[in-house]
């Protein structure tokens, strides 16, 4: 891929009149070596919201479809890939990429690794795989941008749907991992924001031990109280899959199973989305997930950036990136929030079969941009890094 795009760039160089230089945008993607998220047994489960293949796949589709636009503008994108087994290796890969002339880094890494990369270089970093709120809030960085929706955005999207359905009494089930605890707190914040009532919060445990059945059995966990809806927080995914149709009362399930808020689903029918999903499936022989959409969008941003051809050093690319807008085939132009670098975007609510609803839900208002009803808004000032 790298060779092809570089070659295309060289060809354009020869074609351009007046000796004008073709703009080559160099970018490096850093991903974990032996990514545990992509182990076959995990990827095959295809839990909603989990990746099922490498980020490079989505990027490749975007660069392929952007080739005509790049050629027409006399620009090119040279993308290289790096794998890192440790945080230190990720940092080293970032430093090496900067030395080699990369103008943009892309990461699909855990939180701490992402921060290590962002702090090691003076380049803009596009996070394409991590939804952690901390990266957009207390740990935000001025040159760190986020393409996947944050956990807060996903929770807000579900809360909006609950409000619109008047399902106001929520039973919250949360797993034992630190990630689950954090995401449960995020869910609570969204529920508060939309005036929904948490009737109870219960911890669950994935176990077949009969002595632990009160923690492990969805029927027992959801018995003994009334509620309109069950919200399950399970970053791992295995327990959550047992909750729909497993509740004591016949109530819908949302969160990490049942109805899930995602940045993309291959069954989305509108705004040219089927064409994008089809191109991806054709190229990589699997349905396009939300993770793939973020990677694809990163490629779209690189193409958009390369065709603007900012003059000057790499700093010019960084400035242009913050202002880049892209078409994500979700019906509206997408831009980056100036206060935390998060990509504004509509979210899709899916049961895995199709897209049930979109957020922001219809009728919701916001003083400036209705997309900013999803996630941390500017006045909350949760990201202190100056931009």
């Amino acid at each position: 891929m790298r060779l092809r795009h570089t070659l295309a760039g060289l060809c354009m160089l020869a074609l351009l009149p007046g000796g004008a230089q073709a703009a080559v945008l160099k970018a490096t993607l850093i991903v974990p070596q032996d990514d545990s998220r992509l182990e076959r047994s995990r990827a095959e489960r295809a839990y909603l919201g989990h990746p099922t293949g490498p980020a490079a796949n989505g990027l490749a589709v975007a660069l392929e479809e952007g080739q005509f636009e790049l050629d027409a503008a006399g620009s090119s994108v040279a993308l290289s890939n790096a794998e890192a087994a440790t945080l230190e290796a990720a940092r080293a890969a970032a430093v090496a990429a900067e030395k080699a002339g990369a103008a943009v880094l892309l990461t699909d890494l855990p939180e701490a690794w992402t921060l290590a990369v962002a702090d090691a270089v003076k380049l803009p970093v596009l996070n394409i795989g991590n939804a952690a709120d901390s990266l957009r809030q207390q740990d935000c960085r001025a040159r760190l941008f986020h393409l996947p929706p944050s956990e807060r955005m996903r929770a807000d999207a579900l809360a909006q749907l609950l409000v619109s359905r008047k399902w106001s009494k929520v039973l919250l089930l949360a797993g034992p991992s630190p990630a689950d605890q954090q995401r449960a707190a995020t869910a609570q914040a969204s529920l508060r924001r939309y005036g929904l009532q948490v009737v109870a919060t219960k911890a669950f445990k994935l176990s077949a031990d009969p002595r632990e059945r009160a923690l492990a059995n969805p029927v027992l966990l959801t018995g003994g109280q009334t509620y309109d809806v069950v919200w399950v927080v399970d970053s791992d995914g295995e327990f959550a899959r047992l909750v729909p149709y497993g509740t004591s009362l016949p109530r819908p399930v949302v969160g990490d199973a049942g109805l899930v808020a995602l940045g993309w689903h291959a069954q989305f029918e509108r705004f040219g989305a089927p064409q994008v999903a089809r191109r991806f499936a054709k190229a990589h022989k699997r349905p396009m997930t939300a993770h793939d959409w973020s990677a694809w969008l990163a490629g779209k941003m690189l193409v958009a950036l390369a065709t603007t051809q900012p003059k000057g050093p790499n700093a010019a690319w960084a400035q242009a990136l913050a202002k880049t807008t892209v078409d994500g085939s979700k019906g509206t132009t997408l831009s980056l929030r100036p206060w935390d670098g998060q990509l504004r975007q509509p979210l899709l609510l899916t049961d895995g079969q199709g897209v049930v609803a979109q957020a922001p839900v219809e009728g919701l208002l916001h003083p400036r941009n209705v997309l900013d009803t999803l996630g941390v808004d500017e006045p909350e000032k949760l990201c202190k890094a100056p931009r």
């Binding site: 005509f68 064409q275 078409d327 019906g331 132009t333």
Partner: protein, 327 residues
């Protein structure tokens, strides 16, 4: 005597007069509306403004227009073909293959060649109308959409939604002469009266780009504004001009309005509220009525052009897409 009665009587008289007058003013005609989900055209009587029937079509019917010999041609994305429908019988005469996933098309003035956008392949195809053979394919930007041929048939314009370009293609050689940068997600096009300007709607830009066809470059942009709607809710798609090229009508998509534009001053003169996601538009022969397809409310809106007012909405098939008025 009850004072309400004369008013009622007058109203009744007026209605009766209107009912008599309408068929005289609007000659017998039919609006054919395609539907992406029903695989059928809905037929609307222009006199009574009611549905008078449906015609089954190929799968996922989208762009529809008349051929030079007045057959109805409807392109079907999922059938990779168009149905050629005889207006008198309402029956399909034959299927014309249009390559993979055709979206929109145009026909050469001599009726011999069909130019079509193949959205998944990112190609424009030249197709021999009689034999259905693919004469040539031209690689264009991703998700090509609008297809418009110059009046002399020599220059073909194709929009690419992904690349935000208007491709200028020489029909004789099949060469891309120029790629013109339009706004985000360019969709449909219309020529002015002399063909000196090509107007291109930009779905994700709340705007329309005006291309000078001699210079082959954008010479103007019209930004659409609708009170109470933000720029991101204004997604222009369908466009048609009057025969004299003085006025343009643009469907504003999610803004649920149609804009009337004065072509000379490039100013919006009227905004008419229509149905949900106004998608494509068509004028009748007298240019007195504008028919607007509403993609998300499964209906069309009939707009009185002189009064700039919607006068009726008529339910049609599911996810209606395009339309043609035949009189």
């Amino acid at each position: 005597m009850n004072p309400i009665q004369p008013t009622l009587f007058r109203q009744a008289l007026c209605t009766a007069a209107l009912a008599l007058w309408v068929p005289l003013a609007w000659a017998q005609g039919t609006v054919y509306v395609s539907s992406e989900k029903d695989d059928a055209l809905t037929l609307i009587d222009t006199g009574t403004l009611t549905v008078k029937g449906t015609i089954a079509t190929c799968k996922r019917a989208r762009h529809v227009q008349l051929t030079p010999d007045r057959k109805l041609m409807v392109a079907c994305t999922d059938s990779n073909a168009a149905d050629l429908i005889d207006l008198a019988t309402g029956k399909s005469l034959r299927r014309v293959p249009l390559g993979d996933e055709p979206e929109a098309f145009d026909i050469s003035p001599d009726g011999k060649t069909v130019y079509v956008s193949n959205e998944d392949a990112g190609e424009a195809s030249f197709i021999d109308f009689a034999s259905g053979k693919v004469l040539r394919t031209v690689k264009v930007g991703g998700e090509p959409e609008g297809v418009k041929l110059s009046a002399d048939g020599k220059t073909l314009y194709v929009t690419s939604e992904v690349a935000s370009l208007v491709h200028v293609i020489d029909t004789a050689s099949g060469k891309v002469l120029k790629n013109i940068k339009a706004g985000k997600r360019p969709r449909r096009m219309a020529f002015n009266a002399g063909g000196t300007e090509l107007w291109v709607t930009n779905e994700l830009d709340a705007s329309l780009s005006i291309i000078d066809t001699a210079k082959q470059e954008v010479v103007g942009t019209i930004k659409f504004e609708v009170k109470g709607a933000r720029a991101e809710d204004i997604s222009p798609v369908g466009i048609q001009m009057t025969r004299d090229g003085k006025r343009a009508f643009v469907a504003l998509g999610r803004a649920n309005h149609v804009a009337f534009v004065d072509v000379a001053s490039r100013k919006v003169t009227n905004l008419v509220l229509v149905g949900k996601r106004a998608w494509n538009v068509a004028l009748d022969k007298a240019e007195a009525r504008l028919y607007v397809v509403n993609g998300l409310s499964d209906d069309i809106t009939v707009v009185d052009v002189a009064a700039a007012k919607a006068i009726k909405s008529i339910p049609v098939g599911r996810v209606p897409y395009g339309l043609v008025v035949v009189e």
